[in-house]
């Protein structure tokens, strides 16, 4: 039994309420997870270096993020005299915004049925989903570039210049790597990508080259080690956020971890089957009804958290690249491979189709 998807015309008040609920719930889940991933970062790094890590606030240090947030709020907010005030204040907000907007098109689970109406577990199921994701996530670089420029100081400036070069380059790989996926699903809609994986194989296995390129580009886009050149502590003090303090600094921090979650979610959606559980088909999820939604929801978040762990794991394992190595890797290695992958996918699809 499949019911028609709830639209505005059916029941405006219910539609608005459902959408508002989705926005509030999903945004909060992600923001809380990104706060906890800061704690996870410290815990995992401690574990890898045979230390204990934060363990004083709450049981096992679980309340550490709350204590950090409180500390940030009470710190003095210093605006240095030599900055460009308007852009300096705007930059942290712009750094956080794109990551939050992208959350709108990520499918978190199979549709939920409430009061006889089917509600998709995605805030906006756009036809051009992936294009929207790339369009909005390409705005992420503005926060960094503007922070670097507005700080009017040499280390942030260098960080900003590095960030713009790096993020533009790797955006290209990010976009090219997933072309193969959309050639085989014949749709840009993210829910279609997932349903095709639920019944078929995960794209991690059928598009392994794309998977590797996407993961590398995702690390570069979020400025994480081994590609954290815009904020390399040992070279640039703290890069673009050197001149920031208090909650403005925390905004960059939240932005970075939210972006990490967004890219983990994208990897889960595009390559790990989204809400799929191995050996379950779309019909199985539908048969289970709302329990299927819950299962799918959990499966999706398990995948996201696993990839977040991978992010942290890599950070504490691999040293930083040099800038020329970063550019060579991007333009001379990953880009040709991504293009070959597109052609290869086309040939295989044409051969299977004929």
């Amino acid at each position: 039994m499949s019911l028609a998807v709830l639209t505005f015309a059916d029941d405006p008040i219910f539609y608005l309420a459902a959408n508002l609920a989705k926005i509030v719930v999903f945004t909060h889940i992600v923001l809380i997870l990104s706060a906890l991933s800061v704690l996870a970062e410290r815990k995992v790094s401690a574990w890898m270096q045979d230390r204990l890590g934060p363990n004083r606030v709450g049981p096992g240090g679980i309340l550490q993020p709350a204590a950090d947030a409180l500390k940030f709020f009470f710190k003095e907010d210093i605006v240095p005299g030599h900055v460009d005030k308007v852009l300096y204040i705007l930059a942290p907000a712009i750094a956080l915004m794109p990551a939050l907007i992208v959350l709108a098109v990520i499918p978190y689970g199979p549709p939920l049925t409430v009061l006889g109406e089917t509600i998709p577990m995605v805030i906006a199921d756009l036809d051009i989903g992936i294009l929207f994701v790339f369009a909005i996530s390409s705005l992420g670089v503005y926060g960094i570039v503007l922070a670097g420029w507005a700080s009017n100081s040499k280390y942030p400036m260098l960080g900003g210049v590095r960030a713009s070069a790096q993020m533009i380059s790797y955006e290209v790989m990010l976009g090219l790597s997933v072309v193969g996926i959309f050639m085989s699903t014949e749709s840009l809609r993210l829910t279609d990508v997932i349903t095709s994986q639920v019944d078929g194989t995960w794209f991690m296995f059928s598009q392994p080259i794309a998977f590797i390129i996407f993961v590398i580009a995702a690390f570069a886009e979020t400025n994480r080690l081994p590609f954290d050149l815009p904020e390399a502590e040992t070279e640039l003090v703290a890069g673009y956020h050197t001149e920031y303090s208090s909650m403005k600094f925390a905004m960059f921090f939240i932005g970075e971890y939210t972006a990490m979650f967004v890219f983990s979610a994208l990897v889960a959606v595009l390559f790990l089957g989204g809400w799929d559980i191995p050996f379950m088909s779309n019909a199985d999820f539908e048969a289970l009804g709302n329990w299927g939604t819950l299962l799918g929801f959990l499966s999706f978040f398990v995948k996201c958290l696993a990839f977040l762990f991978f992010y942290i794991w890599v950070r504490w394992t691999i040293p930083r690249f040099r800038f020329d190595q970063l550019m060579n890797l991007g333009w001379k290695v990953l880009m040709p491979i991504a293009l070959v992958n597109v052609v290869l996918t086309g040939v295989v699809l044409g051969w299977l189709g004929s």
Binding site: L87, D127, F132, A135, N152, V161, E171
Partner: protein
Amino acid sequence: MLDFMFVFFAAIALAGGLVMAFHQSIVHSAFALVAVLFGVAGLYWTLGADLLGATQILLYVGGVTILLLFAVMLSTRDAGRLAIGRYILMAPVLGLLGAGLLRVYQGVIAISEGRELTLLEPEPTSDAIGQLFVDPHGFLLPFEVLSVLLLVVLVGAVTVARQQQEGTPDA
């Protein structure tokens, strides 16, 4: 709702345009350009051209303007302040352009006057656009010609950059 969306995005685009044209600092102007492009993308979306809107943000906001900012950041510190005399020179050109635009609007109003306007539910455009790009009777030829043109530009840019590198080893 549609009216609200239109006014909202048009206001963003117009305000951005004013800041872009009249701000003294070139970085602020470049950033105002982002607002303009974003507002225009929003207008595309309002009119149901979702693919066009997303592409506008992806290419112009995410790519071209960043490159512009990059160039400005590398070449100038805050020295890029424009002299006011330039506006005076620009005034007649802008006046002519404005007059032309007003004439176009007059034509549009004359055509649409007295007609019944119906609101259509916008449909996704990506499928139809994709079909047109590979249709020999559609836009296959222009599409391919454009891609060759872009390739030529790319090769040309590499050649120019390489010549400079060889000509002046110290630079």
